[in-house]
Amino acid sequence: MQACKVSLGKKRRGHVLADRLTISGTAKSFAGIAVLKGIDLTIEPGEFFTLLGPSGCGKTTLLRIIAGFLAADSGSIALGSERLDHKPAHQRDIGMVFQDYAVFPHLTVADNVGFGLKLRQVPKAELNARVDEALRMVQLDRLGARYPSELSGGQQQRVGIARAMVIRPRLLLMDEPLSNLDAKLRLELRDDIRQLQKKLAIATIYVTHDQEEALAISDRICVMNGGVAEQVGTPTEIYRQPRRRFAAAFVGTTNFIKASVEGGRVALGGAHLPLAKAADGPVEIGIRPEHVRVMAASAGAAGMPALEGKVARFTYLGTHGLAVVATEHGEIIAQVHDLDGAAACEGATVRVVLPVDRLMVFDAAGNRVEIAA
């Protein structure tokens, strides 16, 4: 998946959409505990930008600082040349979609969606037209007169999305909008959000802890951990070229094998891999299960690092299987497509081959170190 940056120069209702959001040096502590340790990010116009990380990584805090519900301790947030962090939340013109929907239970669906337009004193006729259009966009037309309690969770979140989008905000924030929905609805609404966002070209910051969701929906992803932006990149970059050990571990599955560097080379499974940059001490070598090859014990490894092992467990998943191979370096998970081979046979002695071009070396600080060609 390649990020297609949509730069919209066109004007709509007076304001230019082509403003870039710049977050610089944003830090926040709660009771002495640093939750955000200086975040620098740039979100391009029309971009779908995801903050991905485990709970407690600071992603929601950052989102709430952008929305204006929290004040940062330091740093600045600007849209174009305009400082946002000096404005109160209600003057920022930022739409927000909440995890618990936060639809107004005492208002009808139509009144919910029209809430922001009424505050902007949009004339009645235009207001009704825009509400109808927004409801059509989220497939809730004809439900305008209902109350939220009469809707399902997925429908309530559609109201939340329509309500945030109908004001044509300069920026749209989504705080885990799908996490309260069941799996099937989640996929359906995820695709709808993506399509709507592309159609309206509103720059969107989306918070999630679900890496699969982040990969599927984003133009770019920022992987966060412990109040730090670990890596920013397109889904492809994040998955294929993690720059940090944390990104490799959090997005997708990665096997980590402990190794040590001697004379600028990592020794692994009979091979010595030269590193592009001098690294000392212990390192970890990562490889994704789909790149691990499991062969019969007798097969040759053709100069690639190889480990001897025994199939400890095998899980059958239909199209493929997962073999857990116990080696002297610990257990290694491998994706297996030959479901009749030795790898699918628990207890079989096998050889695990690790292609050099798929190996990722991380130093003790968790930074990626390239293997020299």
Partner: protein, 558 residues
């Protein structure tokens, strides 16, 4: 890199104003008592003589012990009766359980003093019921004395325990009880080992409340206690005496009363220190259908408790319709007492309505804002505010009255003798209840709802009034009606603060009972009771519709 400017938050202004109100209406008057207790009445010099007198005087020492007896006695009696009733009504299918609840609330708010009087009429030395029982061969001692006081407190305050614990019982996940039974625990043991520990926070809270109410009540020991004097009666006597009054010692006694309450608050906090049982409400307990003897017994017990509790009110209503000649009851029924009340005592009725209405408007306005602070802006500052709000809760009305009269007798704020002082004292005494109930209603509404309105462009205050207020409005309204009920029935502080023109109905009832004008007292009490019942009924209706609203709110939150 520049530091983000703190955004202006109107709620900070609200917090500052709240502190201002608490300081002017609460801490400043209370400081008058504190300083008076350390000051010599005549010379104005600093002294410990008042406290020495309290400690060295035998009567005061006995009053101190009696206060503890009354407090713990009232508390234990209320707990036993209240928990029994709660267990029966909350967990079993009882015919007319809603009516029982309503009657329990009526018993709770029935006008003070008339209650004590009714008990004398029925169980006094020449009491109607006591005479019947005597004729049947049951020799019951007259109600006077320590046991009478404890009995009256138990029957008056048990509804607090009942209402608080039955709510808690209804929110114990039945799966926990089933798990205990499934692991082999018999139902009887299960109640004590699983259910009871789960509702300890509610029990501890209601225990504290009934204790505080018992030690603050001085009408019951006065009328029923005979020579059973407590700190509240001693302080009132010392302070109210036309001649030989001793404000210094009265203040020292008040401080002792506050100290007892403080110790109890600390004990309650300690008792619930580990209780952080999150209500994981996947299932609501269904009331059990009873059969046979058990069914009959449970119905009998429940109705007997509630009817016993409402006896004072029933007696007052009956006596208000008895024919009178002067203060003396005549055989037969008539409207004499009512004629007299409306001819001579329309001012107290009007006062009661006007004062309580003004107080309730203030309570609701300020209480809602404070409740919001407590629920939505948790910080060290609001935690302190929450603590400060405990103060009116533990300061007995009589003490608050003495504090007000001492502080506001002289400039800068010489308002003693005005209606304002009576309204203010009601306001400050009931404010914590309103703030707490709004806070708990708010905790049912997701704060994200308000943030959504802000993100759509509503300024914070507008967002609050357009989203949160409508959602908690039924809660605020039913809370307001309950405040109105307690405001109308406020006696102890008003009794200290009233002057001829600002007497309220409870004050007049008290004076009428003391003067032996039982017919007048009963008629006034009946009018007050009717007004109270009306307010309670409306509050009940509103609470029910709020229950429905909360259900949908809960659905939203999941």
């Amino acid at each position: 890199m520049s530091t983000a400017r703190p955004l202006f938050d109107p709620w900070r202004l609200v917090q500052a104003l709240t502190w201002l109100i608490l300081i002017v209406c609460l801490f400043w008057p209370l400081s008058a008592i504190l300083s008076a207790s350390f000051v010599d009445n005549d010379t104005g010099a600093l002294t410990l003589a008042n406290y020495r007198e309290v400690i060295e005087t035998r009567a005061f020492r006995r009053a101190f012990v009696n206060t503890l007896i009354a407090g713990f006695g009232g508390m234990i009696g209320s707990l036993v009766i209240g928990i029994t009733l709660a267990f029966i009504v909350a967990r079993h299918r009882i015919v007319g359980s809603r009516t029982l609840e309503l009657l329990a609330i009526l018993a709770l708010v029935s006008p003070p003093f008339i209650g004590a009087y009714a008990w004398i009429v029925l169980f006094g030395a020449n009491g109607v019921v006591r005479n019947w029982l005597g004729a049947l061969g049951f020799d019951v001692p007259p109600i006077f004395g320590v046991w009478g006081v404890i009995l009256v407190f138990s029957m008056k305050f048990f509804p607090h325990v009942f209402l608080m614990t039955s709510t808690a019982l209804q929110s114990v996940n039945p799966s926990l009880e089933e798990a205990a039974e499934n692991l082999g625990m018999p139902p009887g043991q299960r109640f004590f080992k699983v259910t009871l520990p789960l509702i300890t926070p509610a029990i501890a809270a209601s225990a504290l409340l009934t204790f505080v109410l018992s030690i603050a009540d001085f009408g019951t020991p006065r009328l029923i206690g005979r020579d059973f004097n407590v700190l509240a009666t001693e302080a009132f006597t010392l302070f109210g005496a036309e001649l030989g009054g001793n404000p210094g010692v009265a203040s020292a006694l008040s401080m002792a009363l506050i100290a007892i309450s403080l110790v109890l608050v600390a004990a309650q906090r300690w008792a619930v220190r580990r209780d952080v049982f999150g209500g994981n409400m996947i299932r609501k307990p269904a009331p059990k259908l009873l059969t046979g003897v058990k069914n009959l017994a449970y119905h009998l017990i429940a109705y007997a408790i509630v009817l016993f509790g409402t006896i004072p009110a029933i007696t007052a209503v009956i006596f208000s319709f008895r024919r009178t000649s002067g203060p003396v009851f005549q055989p037969g029924f008539g409207l004499d007492s009512y004629h007299k009340v409306f001819a001579q005592l329309s001012t107290p009725i009007l006062n009661t309505l006007v004062f309580s209405a003004i107080a309730v408007v203030l309570i609701v306005a300020v209480g809602t804002l404070i409740g919001y602070l407590l629920a939505r802006r948790p910080s060290a500052g609001t935690a302190l505010l929450d603590g400060a709000l405990m103060v009116p809760y533990i300061v007995p009305g009589i003490v608050m009255g003495i504090a007000y009269i001492t502080r506001f007798n002289t400039p800068p704020l010489a308002i003693t003798g005005t209606a304002a002082v009576i309204i203010l004292v009601i306001f400050i005494r009931r404010l914590p209840y309103a703030a707490r109930s709004v806070a708990s209603a708010l905790r049912q509404v997701s704060p994200r709802v308000e943030e959504a309105a802000i993100s759509l462009g509503a300024p914070p205050m507008k967002a609050f009034f357009k989203t949160t207020v409508p959602l908690i409005a039924p809660g605020i309204l039913s809370g307001a009606l309950m405040s109105l009920v307690t405001a109308m029935n406020e006696l102890s502080s008003s009794l200290v603060l009233y002057v001829g023109g600002t007497a309220t109905m409870p004050v007049r009832i008290y004076l009428a009972v003391l003067d032996g004008e039982y017919g007048t007292a009963s008629a006034l009490a009946t009018i007050l009771l009717a007004l109270t019942a009306l307010a309670v009924l409306i509050a009940f209706r509103l609470a029910e519709s709020r229950g429905a609203g909360q259900a949908s709110g809960a659905r939203l939150a999941t």
